[in-house]
């Protein structure tokens, strides 16, 4: 689980859990104002500053439909819901999270309710040398529908964030979750996201990780009910010394479940990325379709990407495949653009943006996408400046090629 990670560099003594007497509602933190403006209409908006819920608003339609968004302590005073999806903490960071958790956010959609506009949960971390422990729970009732946009951002502070997200899609629910990680260049994130998908539910999670010094996220999806499906998408793009670290689990517990994972990453400068993923198919889970694809573009000699797909299959009536690749920009694609007169750096910018488009185009909260796309373009523009200045050698040769692709299939 920690292989290739940067955990040995972490010194917890550098950080203190953030404590504030009483969080005051100062409205929208300046750093989040542009995010709010871009999102436009939302069914509910929650602001979380340094791990503390400072602002909650829910529109009238959602309130009238019984949608609950707010502090868990107010909506679930007995605290029976907390950790209902994640279960017990699995490691020391989970225990830390549980011990220092200030306030969890709950989004609860009643049975049969379709929430028209996205629910936005916006996190802002600006306390230097702080450790914060945000916690989000989404409970989508039977046959309900909701899209949740979770945005984590910070100015350039030295901070540690331990986010935990619990997503529960009730029977036949349509729950779609999008997470944008736009933390400052010195922030560390050690996150965990667990989803549980019940009978016939359609679940989707998408992560866009562009920020942080070290941004780690464990993403686990449990396909717990017959006929449920889970889509897992990610885009990550590191520059300078950034590192993005994703660990995924597609856990098929029930029969006739489907999961489809597509993670696409790029590394430039001296940045690094890790993807390790597991498809687990339990003995009882017959008739499963499970797919896992991880593709990475390596844009400089000094950058490094690791991709490790895994399968663990206990039932032979399954269709299962995994594929992973790490390599430079496709030479034929670049030649095509260059043959039309597009200079190499611009050609690579267009191709990398196009590479990510396959995921960005599918995000459940389209209003959030242009800004994410713009940030990716800004990173590529910084690379072009570096290339012009001769700071960074591009990768024009030395194809590393496919790490591996494998298909496993059996059964009727």
């Amino acid at each position: 689980m920690w292989r290739y990670s940067r955990i040995p560099e972490l010194d917890l003594a550098d950080y203190l859990p953030f404590v504030d007497e009483l969080p005051t509602d100062d409205g929208v933190p300046a750093g989040l104002a542009p995010v709010v403006a871009r999102l436009g209409r939302c069914s509910a908006t929650v602001m979380v500053v340094n791990g503390q819920v400072v602002h909650v608003e829910v529109d009238e339609t959602a309130t009238a439909a019984g949608v609950q968004v707010g502090r868990l302590t107010e909506l679930d005073p007995e605290g029976s819901m907390l950790a209902s999806v994640t279960g017990e903490a699995t490691n020391a960071f989970g225990l830390l999270h549980d011990a220092f958790l200030a306030e969890a956010v709950l989004v609860r959609v009643p049975r049969g309710v379709v929430v028209a506009d996205p629910v936005a949960v916006l996190h802002w971390t600006d306390a230097d040398h702080s450790a914060t422990f945000p916690h989000l729970m989404v409970e989508a009732g039977e046959n309900s529908e909701v899209a949740v946009y979770d945005h984590g951002a910070s100015p350039d502070v030295d901070a540690l964030v331990f986010p935990v997200v619990e997503l529960h899609a009730g029977p036949a629910a349509r729950l779609r979750y999008v997470n944008a990680q736009m933390l400052g260049p010195r922030v560390w994130q050690l996150g965990r996201q667990v989803s549980r998908v019940e009978r016939d539910a359609a679940f989707s999670t998408a992560m866009v990780a562009l920020g942080a010094d070290y941004g780690r996220l464990e993403v686990e999806s449990v396909l717990a009910g017959k006929g449920s499906s889970g889509e897992m998408l990610a885009v990550y793009f590191g520059e300078q010394d950034q590192m993005h670290d994703f660990r995924s689990l597609q856990d098929h517990v029930a029969p006739r479940t489907t999961s489809n994972l597509l993670f696409k990453g790029a590394v430039q400068g001296r940045s690094r990325s890790v993807y390790t993923g597991m498809i687990h198919i339990a003995k009882a889970a017959a008739g499963v379709d499970a797919f896992q694809t991880n593709r990475n573009i390596k844009l400089s000699q000094g950058a490094w990407a690791e991709s490790v797909p895994n399968l663990e299959i206990e039932n032979n009536d399954v269709r299962c495949s995994h594929a992973s690749a790490v390599g430079p920009v496709d030479e034929d694609q670049r030649y095509y653009l260059e043959s039309r007169g597009v200079p190499p750096a611009a050609a690579e910018r267009l191709i990398v943006l196009g590479f990510f488009e396959e995921v960005l185009d599918r995000l459940a909260v389209p209003a959030a996408v242009p800004a994410l796309r713009a940030e990716i373009a800004a990173k590529l523009a910084r690379r072009e400046l570096d290339l012009e200045a001769g700071v960074d050698a591009g990768v024009n040769a030395g194809v590393e090629g496919d790490v591996g692709a494998e298909e496993v299939g059996a059964g009727a």
Binding site: Y336, L337, S339, P343, A346, A347, L350, G354
Partner: protein, 234 residues
């Protein structure tokens, strides 16, 4: 080749027609061992492919590459910016060109060559030629995959470029049909990497009946020492 001229290159499979196109454009993987390629006196072999394009060369590919997620308009805009012709209304020019060759406008929004049929890809290449306005164009089997009506439109579009702007064309083809619309000034027969015959359009007519059999005989032994160098006459 001079401006405004159309040169047809014909020859059996494997004779080196596409290799010629690739080498002139600068596709990676080819090593020129002899000869020179110049455009208005500039040494193309010393240039990267994008610089050759910026110098006025265009190569319509036999098998255009699919580039997922990249819009045609974005690519053309970048190419025009690189030669100081950016900032215009690329979309409008694309629509005008599309109309001239009967290219369905809804294809303009698709990622480059993705989900396009063979014929649509060839029209897409021709459309790009129209927007980029090169001075010399290589068309590598631009006629393959096109139906008769589309072939006529594409050939007429290229022919118009030769007449209106003096575009010079090197058209690689297997079929005389292209050459009835796009009238060649010269026809060359390529065999084993060498031009073994050149003539007027009557040469294409003759090939139609005799095939390449006669030219294979004149081909003789493999060239010794230096490989099949690629060169254009001044």
């Amino acid at each position: 080749m001079r401006s405004g001229e159309v040169h047809a290159v014909m020859g059996p499979n494997g004779s080196g027609k596409s290799t010629l196109a690739h080498v002139v454009m600068g596709r990676p993987g080819y090593h020129v061992v002899a000869g020179a390629i110049t455009l208005d006196g500039a040494d193309l072999l010393a240039m990267a492919p994008w610089q050759r394009a910026a110098a006025g060369l265009f190569s319509a590919m036999q098998y255009p590459t699919e580039v997922p997620g990249v819009a045609l308009a974005d690519m053309l805009e970048e190419a025009l910016v690189a030669v100081g012709r950016g900032g215009g209304d690329v979309a409008a020019r694309m629509r005008t060109e599309a109309e001239r060759i009967g290219f369905d406008e809804r294809f303009l929004a698709r990622p480059l060559n993705v989900d396009l049929s063979g014929g649509e890809k060839k029209r897409n290449e021709t459309l790009q030629l129209g927007v980029l306005q090169p001075s010399i164009a290589i068309l590598d089997e631009v006629d393959s995959g096109l139906d008769i009506d589309a072939l006529r439109l594409v050939a007429r579009r290229v022919e118009a470029e030769t007449e209106e702007r003096g575009l010079g064309v090197l058209a690689i083809t297997h079929y005389r049909r292209l050459l009835t619309e796009l009238r060649p000034d010269q026809v060359h027969v390529l065999s084993k990497g060498r031009i073994v015959a050149s003539g007027g359009s009557e040469l294409a007519d003759q090939l139609e009946t005799t095939g390449y059999a006669g030219y294979a005989e004149t081909d003789g032994a493999e060239p010794e020492g230096e490989g099949p160098g690629v060169a254009t006459a001044p």
